[in-house]
């Protein structure tokens, strides 16, 4: 690939918008992909292994949820390349999920409340 510094690498999308998209191909991509694969595989095996270990249920649940979020990070950041998109775009995608955190709090509190309600009557 010849490197022309006056013009950035990229292509025109060719659809009705015909936008110019900059492209930065990094030959190290493939080693990053395989590294991500091994991390995901290792975490999954680790999860299955500790599922039967004599560990308190609450600690296990928290461990599983944290590891799930770690796996989600690796999939979104490296497989979906969000880490290499502009930061403003990454925030546009990630920030709406604050609402999901809120919904989790609301819904689980409601479920727990109904559980207590059922046991009273």
């Amino acid at each position: 690939m010849s490197d022309n510094h006056s013009k950035p690498h990229g292509y025109y999308t060719g659809d009705i918008h015909n936008q110019f998209v900059e492209e930065h191909y990094d030959p190290k991509n493939r080693s990053v992909i395989w590294r991500t694969f091994w991390i995901l595989l290792f975490i999954t095996i680790f999860e299955v292994a500790i599922a039967f270990a004599p560990i308190a249920h609450g600690i296990l649940v928290i461990t599983f949820i944290v590891l799930t979020i770690v796996k989600a990070y690796f999939i979104v950041a490296f497989f979906m390349h969000l880490k290499h998109e502009k930061l403003s775009f990454a925030y546009t995608i990630i920030l709406p999920f604050v609402l999901i955190v809120y919904l989790i709090g609301m819904a689980l509190a409601e479920g727990t409340y109904l559980n207590i309600w059922d046991s009273l009557f």
Binding site: V21, E47, F64, V76, L99
Partner: protein
């Protein structure tokens, strides 16, 4: 408008955004794929959160996944988590082949894209087959079955309540929904007399315990499975386009990136389903 569009085509660097180029440096199509995935993630989140709420409500009588999904092909015995672990591996692997197809697209390697995309399609079919197998066993249930009392409680045979096996319970005992053991002969007969003998799970009853567990399982894994199926179909269309040389003529492989985003999202959802249905 038409004149403006023509001018945009001619001057090239100007886009429809009126600012000259995308503020995000992401093409329109790719950005819309991301926004679709955000909305789809909200749908899946709502389903899983609803599952969580009902699980908190019926915590004492909620079935334990290790008692429900215990099979592995060609191997007899109680093997929880192994099969779903394998399914997770298949899906992660197909995500890797997909991202390698995207990578080959960046290098304009048409043959590489075709090979990796083909492997992704194979992985997708393997996952769908695994899910069909899992559903079959869940719907079919166990041979001994369970007893559904008129009040909706499910009394299972002790041979299917693996949690209690360490305490060596007498054979033929029943297990109440909250995992208390019923080994008294007359009590067992009384339960059997008033109850319906059921096998497996469907939308109205579930031999493993609370019927909502089966409803959420069918709905969430079914919705996810339908996403996988759509993804495989989209991948096949893109694969045929690659074979026909559509993208090498176009000069870029952005379509592979867009379908890749969708495929990784399907993998991402499975990571959460795996945790909240099988692990926790």
């Amino acid at each position: 408008m038409a004149a403006e569009a023509t001018m945009t085509q001619e001057t090239g660097t100007k886009s429809m955004w009126n600012g000259g180029r995308s503020p995000f440096n992401v093409s329109w199509g790719k950005m819309m794929m991301w926004f679709f995935l955000v909305s789809d993630a909200f749908t899946f989140s709502s389903l899983i959160i609803a599952y969580g709420a009902m699980r908190h409500r019926f915590e004492a009588v909620w079935p334990k996944a290790n008692d429900v999904f215990t099979h592995f092909p060609f191997i007899e015995g109680h093997i929880p988590l192994a099969y779903v672990g394998l399914m997770t591996f298949i899906l992660i692997m197909s995500s890797v082949t997909m991202v390698l197809a995207v990578d080959a697209g960046h290098r304009r390697d048409n043959k590489g894209v075709a090979v990796w995309l083909f492997l992704t399609i194979i992985g997708g079919f393997m996952f769908l087959g695994s899910q069909a197998w899992e559903w079959y066993h869940f719907i079919h249930g166990t041979e001994v079955g369970a007893y559904l009392a008129p009040d909706g409680s499910v009394y299972r045979d002790v041979s299917n309540a693996y949690q209690l096996h360490a305490s060596n319970p007498p054979a033929g005992s029943l297990v109440a929904p909250d995992y208390t053991l019923i080994s008294d002969k007359s009590a067992i007969e009384a339960i059997k007399a008033k109850s319906e003998h059921i096998h497996g799970a469907n939308l109205t009853h579930n031999e493993y315990g609370h019927p909502l567990f089966a409803d959420f399982f069918f709905f969430i894994t079914g919705f996810h499975g339908f996403h996988v199926f759509s993804g495989v179909m989209i991948n096949i269309i893109i694969f045929l386009n690659v074979l026909a040389g559509v993208y090498s003529r176009r000069g870029h492989y952005e379509h592979i990136e867009k379908t890749g985003l969708y495929w990784h999202f399907v993998d991402l959802v499975w990571v959460f389903v795996f945790t909240f249905f099988y692990l926790v």
